[in-house]
Amino acid sequence: MSNPGLLLILGALGVPLLRGWARRALMVVLPVAALVVLWLLPEGSGATIEMLGLELNPLRVDALSRVFATGFLVAAVLTAVFAFHVRDSLQQAVILVYAGTAVGGSLAGDLLTLFVFWELAGLSSVFLIWARRTERSNRAGSRYLVAQVVSGVLMMGGIAVRVGAGEGLEFSYIGLDGPGGALILAAVGIKCAFPVLHAWLTDTYPEATIVGAVALSAFTTKFAVYTLARGFAGTEALVWVGAVMTCFPIFYAVIENDLRRVLAYSMVNQLGFMVVGVGIGGSLGINGAAAHAVADMVFKGLLFMSMGAVLLRTGTTKGSELGGLYKSMPQTTVLCMVGAASISAFPLFSGFATKSLILTAVAEEHRTVIWLMLLFASAGVFHHAGIKIPYFAFFAHDRGFRVAEPPVNMRVAMAMAAAVCVTIGVAPALLYDMLPYAMDYEVFTTAHVINQLQLLLFAALAFTLLVRTGLYPPEIRSVNLDFDAVYRRAVPSGWQALTRGTTVLGDRLAKPLRRRTERLWTVASGPLRPEGRVGAPWSTHQMVWWLALLLGLVLLLALL
């Protein structure tokens, strides 16, 4: 029971058995106990297990894994408190199991254990989407599951290749030297929302339940960042991948109407910073990625919590339908703005203390282009997450909502998260001391602060000017096309849209084409259906024909 991850997973089985206060107490005690166990564990590897001729090392504690595990457990406490009021033991239990998989994964000392938790993280968290119990969320959950399982299959393939090549199961630096490393990177890339592979995230997170989105925002992606930090530190390609990740979501976030989806895009953007940090490598880069990941678990959780509160009370998170909520939800407004300030890296808030590590690491390597891209992304994130979210939800045009504040436990959870954000922001040394590499870094230098304030003020100025002059893209109900459209709509509607555009050929081509694709699917799946040629019961003479055919074929092959 000395593994904090297993402690959470097994303890979570008790959640459905308890009621009322006992259940709530268990939900908080479990992650707290796991946190205590984690910090009591000595550094180094635990006992190894021999399985199928391979040596497994399910528990390895070092500074890198400890800082991530600590972040996961803090996020687990916050999410658990946030979920107190829910009358659905499934979600409450799943949150703990899901957190446990992330903790267990970050403490895994070998690739097989990592894979087990990797797969379990996907399988457990899908219930947080399904738990919304609507047709839409059922389908989103299935898409989410497919993405997670594909990632798992890729990782298993990569591990098998590495074992086959005699590189063993140890989970340390992996690198891109062999096909195994590339497969594992692809698996991590899916969960880490690399460009083009990110679509599942922005597609499905906003479809989760209120508490589900909070939990999802904390674990899967940061688990992937951890895997990246340990396995692929200093990989040059990641610098560019990360830089692209910071920039492209900004354009989507600006025009997106669903505020929870805006948050999902800003999550890809924040992950981009971490990926850049990992790609730069070195002590400052890895420290920056780890610190920013921990800070992001809390402030992104806080923002999802506040949007969850809005969703709970008003029934929507559409920017076009919200506004003026500060009158009826003043506490939520303030707490949301703390989260917004943290993600935008205002001095004295957590994002400033952690993001500047990554920016400094980039600057020290003299990567001017990357640095400018990150600077642009910093302005952008302030723009959409720092201003847009609070502005459209709580200020802007008053839509006449007169609703109550969210339940006490939600406010308590948000206040706790806000307190963590401010604490890290005011006293960053608390977090810096936990980081994997010792460093001598001063965050509150005049240059840092002035730079950041200039950036933020001009971004704010730009927003104000655009809104005042009416040039800002209005919040309208719309669906913005992202890469998920490729897999969601490609077969039926992709054809439709494409062919409808070319009106000349339209009727002559589109219909037959659509009919073709439909017929192709029917033809391809037809034989497999219960009444189809393969699926239906075969008649006796068919069976005997096949038998004779196979006998003849094998005889021919054997005797030739």
Binding site: A160, S525, P530, P537, W538, V544, L559
Partner: protein, 499 residues
């Protein structure tokens, strides 16, 4: 007494069979079958212990020495099969009491247990015999009684399924007999170890003897019918789904597995590994058919609308995994195949038992009848999902252990196409298990009137299901015991029967 264990293993169920008919009482017949199953499990355990201690056990029937007389051989290569068959028989015996009375006409129940005893005797005999002709006889004993068992299903379609199985099964058995006849013509002996010696004397490639090659092909194709290798699988879905639930569970866990063992016994210890997998292209043909089975079986399973048919099609895919492991003809591959024989037997028996419980309480295992019942029958569906995840191969279930072993064995040999097929089949398995989850929890019940009947689930059936489910989880968490058995079996087979 202990010297007679190999024959008692087969004799007890064989002798119990006529008494089941003669006593004409349902309870007596059930007790007899339970006794037969327990006795054979005891024999199997004792034999496994003795084989572990002193190596292979040989028993001369009637005191006639080996080449002339019939001998039974128990070695590391068949103790896992004996244990699986007899252990599943015990669990099914416990399960069948309530399940059979609810599905089969009361007058036929003693006959059903008679046939079950005969099937058990036939399967066990097929496993222990050391004589090729005797193997054919036991194959016929088990097959004929299986046809009768399938025909006792609830619907009239069971008769058709049974007839189809009878025709194709008989053709398969005939092929096996032709193969045995050809081997006899070439070597002049029927004893397995004697045959192996004389085949080896002909040289590594069998001396280029065409008749011997034909013998191998006939044995392979004949047994492929019994193994249900795609495209000779067509008897399986109907037979397993239409048979009474307890019978479906028993057959799915045992009969194809024993056929696979018999193929291993012929290929590795009679004709010899180099002849079958080196000189002849049986390894490549086996791998190709295995890939076909994995992908086609799982793909068809995704479209099924009846839980029992879905499970049957998934069996066809899972047999592909086993065949792939064995076709590699390496220690790692054969060991992976054996491990999956054990794990799949446990998983599939659990799933068919759960499907039988659903039939008992809902009257059908069609998806329309199961819709939305996950919350009202949480334990049954939890069992289905846990065992189903085992089929997918999600860690830490039993299916993961064997699939991992298979993947490493395939990667060792550089069989990337087969690795791709295994992974594709796993993805498809995720889809069909996902469909069960979706139907049970996320779909609205068809009509308010439908639902579990007021009667509670019989404790004996629930106990049988959960014993199997927990066993599968245990084998996933701690695979040392089944993996040890499988490794020993693979070593013994590739060392030519450990002789």
């Amino acid at each position: 007494m202990t010297a007679h264990l190999p024959v008692l293993q087969v004799l007890v169920p064989l002798v119990c069979a006529p008494f089941c008919v003669l006593l004409r009482s349902r309870t007596a017949a059930w007790l007899l079958f339970l006794f037969a199953a327990l006795a054979s499990l005891t024999c199997a355990v004792l034999l496994a212990v003795r084989v572990g201690g002193d190596g292979a056990q040989r028993y001369e029937m009637g005191g006639w020495p080996a080449p002339a007389g019939i001998e039974f051989v128990v070695g590391a290569f068949n103790t896992p099969v004996l244990l699986v068959v007899s252990a599943v028989a015990v669990v099914v015996a416990v399960y069948s009491r309530r399940s059979v009375t609810s599905e089969v006409d009361a007058r036929r129940v003693p006959l059903l247990y008679t046939c079950l005893c005969l099937t058990l005797a036939g399967l066990l005999g097929l496993t222990v015999t050391g004589d090729v002709f005797n193997a054919f006889v036991f194959l016929e004993i088990s097959s004929l009684s299986t046809y009768a068992l399938v025909a006792m299903g609830r619907h009239r379609r069971a008769l058709l399924a049974s007839f189809r199985y009878l025709v194709i099964g008989t053709v398969g058995a005939t092929f096996l007999l032709i193969g045995i006849g050809l081997a006899y013509a070439v070597t002049g002996t029927l004893n397995m170890s004697d045959l192996a010696r004389r085949v080896a004397d002909l040289g590594d490639d069998g001396g280029g003897n065409r008749a011997l090659y034909a013998a191998v092909v006939f044995v392979f194709v004949g047994l492929a019918v019994k193994i249900a290798v795609f495209p000779l699988h067509a008897w399986l879905p109907g037979a397993y789904a239409q048979a009474p639930s307890a019978i479906g569970a028993f057959l799915s866990a045992t009969s194809t597995k024993v056929a696979i063992y018999v193929f291993c016994r012929f290929a590795f210890t009679v004709f010899g590994t180099t002849l079958v997998f080196g000189t002849m292209p049986i390894d490549r043909i086996g791998l190709a058919l295995a890939c076909l089975a994995m992908v086609a079986g799982s793909a068809v399973a995704c479209f099924q609308t009846d839980l029992k048919y879905l499970l049957a099609w998934s069996s066809i895919a899972q047999i592909g995994y086993i065949l792939a492991g064995i076709s590699l003809a390496t220690t790692a591959g054969v060991s992976a195949g054996y491990l999956h024989v054990i794990n799949h037997a446990v998983l599939k028996a659990a799933l068919f038992c759960a499907a039988g419980l659903l039939v008992l309480r809902l009257g059908s295992a069609r998806f329309t009848a199961l819709a939305g019942l996950g919350r009202r029958m949480p334990w049954t569906f939890a069992a289905v999902v846990i065992a189903g995840l085992g089929l997918v191969g999600v860690p830490p279930t039993a299916g993961f252990a064997s699939k991992w072993a298979l993947l490493t064995a395939l990667v060792d040999q550089g069989q990337w196409a087969v690795v791709a097929a295994v992974l594709a089949s796993s993805l498809l398995a995720m889809v069909y298990i996902g469909r069960i989850v979706e139907v049970a929890w996320f779909r609205e019940p068809a009509e308010p009137g439908t639902g579990p009947t007021a009667s509670k689930a019989p404790a004996s059936m629930v106990a049988a299901i959960w014993v199997l489910v927990l066993a599968s989880v245990y084998f996933g968490l701690d695979a040392t015991w089944p993996a040890g058995l499988a490794d020993a079996a693979a070593d013994a087979l590739l060392a030519n029967g450990g002789e």
